[in-house]
Symmetry: C2
Subunit: 448 residues, 2 copies
């Protein structure tokens, strides 16, 4: 197109106080102050903005709820923020098809509030109340992934505006398709570097009637991991399977006033189809954990009890923050094969001890995804980086990944070639083909 | 590379009797006689062959067990067949990690024979004893997809030789990764047009102890579909959910000497975690099917009974062949949203009646994937094509897909733009970037 642009097609907010909000991310990391913020309401406004950005060579960072953790949203090159949080309409809910179609700014709790009356739910739960567009862009997952999968398994179709301002659709709103190349999954996890997601059709799942939540204490992390792997092998209908270590339990007791055993624990959800199934499945889990030296098992059967148990897990980060007021936090995100899980946790704790860091571990153990949380001060930056590097390199050495669910963003680019080798050249070729001007979230994921 | 090639790096078989075997596919469709057949034993031989093919501009068709259904393997441009059926070593089975690593020629029954002693299984079951490389190349799925997903969900990582002869790895052998662009899923389903798969790491699943198989008869297809959708909504642990229509039951009775009600039926597998769960889940299914006018329910509880029940389902194609000796068969493969399933089946039966075709329906109803099987003679070719066209266009009009699991291949290219619109330009750009000489299965999926 050769349209002469006098100015941008929608209002750009450049008030310093507004720009400041977009300069620091949730982890406390700071980028440049962006050149401005535009808030398109729909796909047409996004496409118009992209046409203008092309004409004016303006780099863009698409943004939803702003809860990403690896620097995905930090400006570095005088970018314009494309704030999609106001493009937040739920366009369709179809309980029979088990699908919902939404604009990218819809958050997961917003969607679940709307679907609950139909007895269906959107299952991907990264903890934060992220936007669905952002969750797709980072291929988010979380506590329920062990049963329901992450965003790739739960986004059936999406619409995106490409760097040449084309509006295209990827995937189909059906359970299965083998039609053409899978570009839907190429867009998912590309962090806004290949397209700006403007609509998504996601899978919904029935809300189960019988859920038990269990908290089981173990003498060692290895016992907890072994019990978890045996549960997975027994094909029990586990929908959450979380490891929390001793340090985290100490923090939880201090923060929540609870009186839990200060030992490693598993937090477990089991979703059964009926009461007899629920009883049998709880019995089987009890048998398995006792075989791995379980010290204590607490079962939550009512909604209130379950809510309290998971609140403890979800508040872990705040509990640690309260134990370490005023400090920064590094959250690591490696994933490894099950057989390497116990060693990965040991490595983290050993490395932490060697480097004098107060490492705590909590992980989506059912997915082999280990998070460690490390409080630190500004002057420890190098030590914490060294810790993170060694942890990632250990994961890569045993066949794991640098990032199970947070994404590469800005902070993990250095591991990309170590993890993917020659495939990185193909990633670069695709980026250059789609975005030859490098205007879509430049410098994130890779450097074309 | 500028190596001067005197000849190909491995033996090329050009005996006419051998080439004839590669000229006609399983559906009876014929292509050209290929220029030859090479059978590399490993990735190094594949890479050497690709280097030679580049130097000599020889187009290649990679092939596993040869069970694809949409003309994927038919030569059109004097191609060389890269026969990977002898690259069939199982490289690793890790029961703790629930993974296996195999060469591409390993078939699913070969893998399952090797994993069974560990209590784990590879779940993707397209019916045919396909090779895992071929299943990945076509993104195959089948009867168990409703619970375990198809190839995308079950291939964690793969190695491929790209058109420039680079050997690259895609994905990681872990449950979750958000590292970089998802090229693993771009390769899966690309039908050998972007790379030749030389190794795969797949997910294994525990073999469940409690499986019930049920056969339920209904007065109408609509009743069967409604019962199936209600079962999915009840979150029952259904692992197979197949629809078989009246014509198919008539054929089965004639072929297998059975005495089943000649009405539409559901064939169901339920995988329970324990005996009490199994009893409760069978009871719940009984309640649901009775609510949808079920006429008859037969339960198979022993391995022998289950095997007999599924043999009936798996022999359906042969039963129909025996009813229509000497005729060709068209198998359609659309998938639609659940709410459109009953209408899709009705449309197929109505279209068949209008066109004077003996249409029978059997479908992976739990995935919204409807197959119809149509016997025909050579002179009916145009009518059958017209039937297939109308069925696909109906599926696309209601938001479905031209192919749920067989792939685009050669025969469904004409629907690609109708289904994907502007996204096809991106597919073409990717094909041109990766394979500028158009040597990898040229003319399949798309025409660059």
């Amino acid at each position: 197109m050769t349209t002469a642009f006098d100015g941008p097609p929608l209002e750009i907010d450049t008030r310093p106080a507004v720009l400041d909000q977009f300069t620091v991310d949730e982890t406390g990391r700071a980028g440049q102050r962006p050149r401005g913020v535009a808030a398109p309401a729909d796909v047409d406004e996004v496409a118009a903005l992209v046409r203008w950005a092309r004409a004016t060579r303006t780099p863009l960072i698409a943004r939803g709820a702003g809860t990403s953790l690896e620097g995905h949203l930090l400006a570095q090159r005088d970018e314009l923020i494309v704030d999609l949080s106001q493009a937040n309409s739920i366009l369709d809910i179809s309980p029979t098809d088990f699908t919902a179609t939404v604009q990218p700014g819809v958050t997961r709790t917003q969607l679940n509030a709307a679907t609950a009356e139909h007895g269906v739910q959107f299952t991907v739960d990264p903890g934060a109340d992220a936007s669905l567009g952002g969750m797709a862009a980072t291929n988010a997952s979380g506590t329920t992934t062990v049963r329901y999968g992450g965003m790739r398994a739960n986004v059936l179709a999406l619409q995106a505006v490409l760097p040449d301002a084309t509006v295209a659709r990827f995937g189909r709103a059906v359970r299965k398709s083998s039609s053409g190349y899978d570009l839907k999954d190429l867009l998912i996890g590309s962090a806004g570097t290949l397209g700006i997601i403007t609509e998504l059709t996601v899978r919904l799942h029935p809300i189960p009637e019988w859920i038990r939540s269990l908290r089981v204490s173990f003498p060692t992390v290895a016992d907890a991991v072994d019990a978890a792997v045996e549960m997975l092998g027994a094909a029990l209908p586990v929908s959450r399977l979380e490891l929390v270590d001793t340090v985290s339990m100490v923090a939880t007791n201090a923060y929540r006033g609870t009186d839990y055993a200060e030992t490693p624990a598993l937090f477990i959800d089991v979703e059964s189809s009926s009461e007899p199934a629920a009883l049998a499945e709880e019995q089987e889990i009890t048998r398995i954990v006792l075989g791995h030296n379980a010290l204590d098992l607490a079962a939550a059967r009512t909604h209130t009890e379950r809510h309290a148990l998971w609140e403890d897990r979800h508040n872990l980060f705040f509990a640690l923050k309260s134990l370490h007021p005023g400090r920064r936090f590094m959250v690591t995100d490696t994933a490894v094969p099950y057989s390497r899980l116990a060693a990965a946790v040991d490595t983290a704790l050993r490395l932490g001890a060697e480097l004098g860091l107060a490492v705590s571990v909590c992980g989506h153990i059912g997915d082999g995804n280990v998070h460690t949380i490390v409080p630190y001060d500004e002057h420890d930056d190098e030590v914490v980086q060294q810790y993170s590097d060694q942890l990632v390199r250990h994961a890569l050495a045993v066949g794991g990944t640098a990032t199970g669910e947070h994404g590469i963003g800005l902070t993990k680019k250095k591991y990309l070639r170590e993890e993917h080798g020659a495939a990185v050249d193909l990633m670069l070729a695709i980026k250059r083909t789609l975005d030859p001007l490098n205007l879509f979230n430049p410098g994130k994921v890779l450097d074309p």
